[in-house]
């Protein structure tokens, strides 16, 4: 080089500052380089972080392009075009913050004064979870987003029941046999992907950890696995039950753990409740003395887990026996018919899993003698997001529990969301020596109400996560659901429900159009804020403060976000905005009280927010950091984070001395409680309620989508990979530059032989129709997909929107999904994520896809040509 001035960005003159990423909901630790001229020109993983150890995923590497996105909202905006819809220019007019806030507060107040339930909030910044609680300021518990339906309706409550945590992961430190069922964990998505991918790769290469991927599509994980097990969509629970059948039939379980560390021996009566003595203690059967004793009787010689007994005049069985009875109908042959996985494969994997679990083996860690069970069954949305999600989640957990691998080294371990203080524990003793189930990981249930106080019917889901998808069914049928209010004002904060909700887009557009007023706090234009009347522009993640711990697997600790530059534009922090709105409504003290509760400041008097003051994002970050480890902000600014490996006393068997919920009696109890409340209130729809969805043990009931008619002969699934997540991902030029060159993300994935049987060819344009909706796309033929499946990348589900940087595809996958009670788990509120479809070959591109912004207009060799 003739010029000695560095040309590589990280080598230019400037400063490095520590921070944390926000290109997904998690928070990998970063170092950010700012040039002497104040330009952010390089972001890298923080090499000092024990979580991601210097690594970043492609999204994290692309954050600069979000920061400098020219379409960012630069000032508060007011809509001047009354017409609202996809691709319709709102004709924004810049206004002052004073005018924007005055209008916002006035319009919110008008509705809230009339009835607080008239507000539909959609607040979804996962790194500032305390913002989610803001609607409580006005006593509102509506929810207009997708946390339950597209994250973990069944997943989070079940983690709460089994681990008393929000999430769960296989233990990378010791696992040698890793089943991934419908999950990208460790490879392409979920839980701090870059961090987990590093540790999983090490385990695979250095420890020869075997990976078995069970999924309809050959994902990244499937491609790296020793074995890909293609499975028919929505039949994952049956695969798991088949494994359970073999483990029990062939005596491959960890019986010591089942007898002493779970409620598998507890005697269950025909009504589904434990048989108890007059003090409420659950009975077990002592096989040695041949009599019933309370679970804690020191004289018990042998905990019976099988058999039929009579105690206190009631017929009963150990809960293990009840599961065994269910499994009689779950032979590998029977499950094979449903899953299409060969029976011999189910048997072999069950045997391999049990062998790998090294049942009986122990390990000493930090002075504790712990079971070593280096086999874990990990799963996520692809496997559990079905109508019977609660049962599915439970089935996957029981595969682990049968071999004793819950919360032990090498097994399947619960990961807390945010411990708030370094020494906070997350387990408590429940009834009769059991681990207390904590299904409400995101906050308390709003309680039963009739008429319902929530347009998503959350009041009828005592064990669920908010079913935002039901808003549309209730909106369309207010009389059926006895809704005695009609929302007319919407508050959106970093949320894109119109992109992420299932159901017909047109139905959602209708709700948006009927809102009297919509305010959106956001950074870049998207599908949802295109309907707003006022835009309140937020700082991006390189201009703002935050402190967060977000469900890290195998590490813990607060992560700092700090501004790298002054805000580029006339933007504000979410804290400033919500403080001002609260103050404008005369409710600042209420907001501070709520913030004190949800951030755990209540227990630390010196950290409690002063009720009459407004606290900035920086001050919130400072107090959260202090709450974690007593370190002030200057310490975090220097260190960037307080991340350490999960301490073993909290990671492994934190519930030692308690018993795991093999059988979940609380599900029976909550079902009966809800039924009683509905009967008392004479809720008209109570007879339609799917009471059978409440099961204390999983059953092989078929998902409705598996029972649909044969006119729709394929199953459609959607998927994402590590390169993209949100609707806005594809406005980022670097993400576009890799995603649209990947054949997996540019065409509908169909099995080669299936296509041949239908007379279809690679590149054919097809119409994909479910009984609920349709999409268009080009076919990409592949060997890597189950023959009865069509795979639709997240990248293709893009609609025409105000963000011209996002090329629109052939419709939205979610249009093809039902958003109704019929396909919602009455227990967990999870909705179905798979649909039956049929294909029709088209001979021309539909007019609606011919526009300049269409994915089909790309001409530089990328995308769906």
């Amino acid at each position: 080089m003739t010029d000695q001035t560095p040309v590589q960005n990280s080598m230019k003159s400037g400063t490095w500052k520590k921070s944390s990423c926000k290109m997904c909901i998690h928070s990998c630790n970063t170092v950010v380089h700012v040039t002497d001229d104040g330009v952010i020109n390089k972001i890298e993983g923080d090499p000092d972080s024990p979580a991601n150890m210097g690594r970043l995923c492609p999204k994290g590497n692309a954050a600069i392009m979000r920061h400098y996105d020219p379409t960012r909202f630069k000032t508060p905006l007011k809509r001047t075009n009354p017409e609202k819809g996809p691709g319709i220019d709102p004709m924004w007019e810049p206004i002052s913050w004073e005018e924007a806030m005055e209008t916002t507060i006035r319009e919110l107040k008008t509705s809230i004064d009339e009835d607080p339930r008239k507000l539909l909030p959609s607040i979804a910044d996962f790194q500032k979870l305390y913002l989610w609680a803001w609607p409580l300021v006005v006593g509102n518990s509506n929810y207009f987003s997708t946390a339950g339906s597209f994250c973990g309706g069944g997943y989070h409550p079940m983690n709460g029941f089994i681990h008393s945590t929000f999430a769960a992961a296989n233990d990378v430190n010791y696992c040698n046999y890793w089943i991934n069922n419908g999950s990208g964990d460790g490879f392409s998505s979920h839980l701090h992907t870059a961090a987990q991918a590093f540790h999983v790769a090490n385990a695979r290469v250095e420890r020869n950890m075997r990976v078995v991927c069970v999924e309809p599509r050959l994902s990244i994980g499937g491609a790296k696995a020793e074995e890909w097990v293609p499975i028919k969509p929505a039949s994952d629970r049956h695969f798991a039950l088949g494994l359970c059948h073999v483990l029990i039939e062939e005596g491959l379980c960890d019986y010591e753990t089942l007898k002493h560390d779970t409620n598998a021996p507890y005697l269950v009566g025909e009504d589904g409740y434990f048989i108890r003595d007059s003090d409420g203690k659950a009975y077990v059967w002592d096989g040695k003395d041949n009599k019933a004793k309370t679970y804690d009787d020191k004289s018990i010689g042998e905990f019976a887990i099988e058999g039929t007994y009579e105690v206190e005049g009631k017929a009963c069985k150990p809960s293990f026996q009840r599961f065994k009875d269910i499994l009689a109908e779950c032979t590998p042959e029977q499950m094979s018919e449903i899953t299409t996985v060969p029976a011999e494969t189910i048997r072999r994997i069950a045997r391999e899993f049990s062998t790998a679990a090294e049942i009986g083996n122990n390990i000493t860690i930090d002075g504790r003698d712990l079971p070593l069970r280096p086999a874990g069954y990990n799963y996520y949305r692809g496997a559990h997001a079905h109508k019977y999600s609660s049962q599915s989640n439970h089935a996957f957990k029981l595969v682990n529990m049968l071999v004793g691998s819950i919360d032990v080294p090498g097994g399947h371990v619960g990961a807390t969301l945010d411990d708030q203080k370094v020494d906070n524990g997350h387990v408590a003793e429940g009834d009769s020596g059991q681990l207390l189930g904590t299904p409400h990981q995101l906050g308390p249930h709003p309680g039963f109400s009739y008429p319902p106080d929530n347009m998503d019917l959350m009041s009828y889901f005592p064990l669920g996560v908010h079913p935002g998808h039901l808003n549309v069914e209730v909106w369309n049928n207010p009389e059926k659901f006895s809704l005695d209010f009609k929302p007319d004002v919407m508050l959106i904060c970093h949320s894109n429900p119109i992109w992420s909700l299932p159901g017909k887009r047109e139905d959602w557009f209708k709700i948006m159009r009927e809102m009297r007023f919509i305010v959106a706090i956001d950074i870049v234009p998207n599908d949802t804020n295109a309907f707003a009347d006022i835009i309140l522009p937020g700082h991006d993640s390189l201009e703002s403060w935050n402190m967060t711990m977000i469900e890290p697997p195998h590490t813990e600790g607060m992560c700092l976000r700090q501004p790298m530059t002054d805000p580029l534009y006339d933007t504000r922090s979410e804290e400033d905005i919500f403080n001002d709105i609260s103050e404008g409504l005369g409710l600042l003290e209420v907001w501070n009280t709520i913030l004190n509760i949800v951030n755990g400041f209540e227990e630390s008097p010196n950290l409690k927010l002063e009720l009459d003051q407004k606290h900035s994002d920086k001050e919130m970050a400072r107090r959260k950091g202090l709450n974690w480890n007593g370190k002030d902000l200057d310490w975090y600014i220097e260190h960037g984070h307080a991340v350490t490996p999960r301490r073993t006393d909290k990671w492994y068997k934190p519930w030692q001395g308690l018993r795991l919920n093999f059988y979940i009696e609380d599900i029976v109890r909550e079902r009966d409680g809800l039924r009683k409340a509905m009967d008392t209130a004479e809720v008209p729809i109570r007879d339609e309620w799917h009471w059978d969805d409440y099961q204390p043990l999983p059953t092989p009931v078929l998902e409705p989508v598996l029972r649909d008619n044969d006119e729709y002969d394929l199953y459609a699934i959607t998927f994402k990979d590590i390169q993209l997540n949100f609707g806005e991902s594809l406005s980022n030029p670097w993400i576009k530059d890799i995603v649209y060159r990947d054949p997996v993300h540019t065409a509908l994935q169909l099995n080669t032989k299936t296509a041949a049987a239908k007379g279809l060819e690679h590149g054919d344009l097809v119409l994909v129709e479910s009984k609920y909706g349709k999409i268009y796309g080009r076919l990409g033929l592949t060997e890597g997909i189950h023959p009865e499946t069509i795979g639709v990348s997240n990248s293709l589900s893009r609609m025409m929107s105000q963000n011209a940087g996002v090329p629109y595809g052939g419709g939205h996958f979610n249009d093809m999904l039902p958003a109704d009670l019929e396909n919602t788990d009455a227990c967990s509120a999870q909705c179905e994520s798979v649909c039956r479809v049929k294909l029709t070959k088209l001979d021309h591109i539909p007019d609606e896809l011919k526009g300049e912004g269409s994915l089909y207009s790309y001409s530089d060799g990328r995308a769906a040509q």
């Binding site: 960005n9 491609a223 390169q723």
Partner: protein, 204 residues
């Protein structure tokens, strides 16, 4: 003597292209320009099928065909084996692009620098501080992040790789990680029949 090279651990690579984006970030690459990228290909038939992810980069060949054909001396090799391009000397003849059997030479078009990543000439401050390194019409490529290497750091793609699928080091040092990986896991060079003596090795 130091001889820098890279090992791609194909078993570790998850095809995420974090490397690709990190490279774009580090080197201010315009839209459609890549110094490295990861390809993928399906192998086998259902259900016995897998997908292989294959990272690619300039191989910094010891007998670099691009260097041999360069008429202006713009392409040259450093003593540590890194094959460099001096944009000021490049005349844009494209001989290197023809000669490279790995298709690792890219021409910087003027429109790429003027349109910008977001199009319509909307150059971001990031691009404004970065594009000054490029001469329009010249041919460019990966230089193993030579400035980072000179400062004792790994190339950007290596540093960010979530799975450690990229390892950088001194091939002449038998104890370096790259040498050990090549030895222990039988590293293979791309297109050995071209006799270019690539300094990039693949292990399975």
């Amino acid at each position: 003597m130091t001889s820098y090279g890279m090992v791609f651990d194909v078993k570790r690579c998850i095809g995420c292209n974090a490397c690709t984006v990190a490279c774009k970030q580090e080197n201010s690459l315009p839209d459609g320009v890549f110094f490295t990228r990861t390809l993928s290909a399906e192998v086998g038939e259902f259900p016995n099928v897998s997908r292989t992810y294959l990272p690619t980069i300039c191989n910094h060949c010891e007998d670099a065909p691009c260097e041999k054909v360069c008429p202006s001396g713009a392409t040259y090799s450093r003593d540590d084996g890194i094959v460099m391009v001096d944009g000021a000397l490049c005349i844009g003849c494209g001989s290197c692009a023809v000669a490279c059997p790995y298709d690792m030479r890219t021409k910087i078009e003027e429109t790429q620098l003027t349109n910008g990543l977001f199009g319509e000439g909307n150059l971001t401050p990031f691009e404004e501080q970065g594009y000054t390194r490029f001469e329009c019409g010249t041919f460019t490529k990966c230089d193993f992040c030579s400035e980072r290497v000179d400062a004792g750091k790994d190339p950007a793609c290596v540093a960010t790789c979530p799975t450690d699928a990229r390892v950088f080091g001194d091939l002449d040092n038998p104890d370096s990680k790259v040498s050990r990986l090549i030895r222990d896991r039988v590293g293979r060079q791309p297109l050995p029949e071209k006799n270019t003596r690539p300094k990039v090795f693949y292990i399975d």
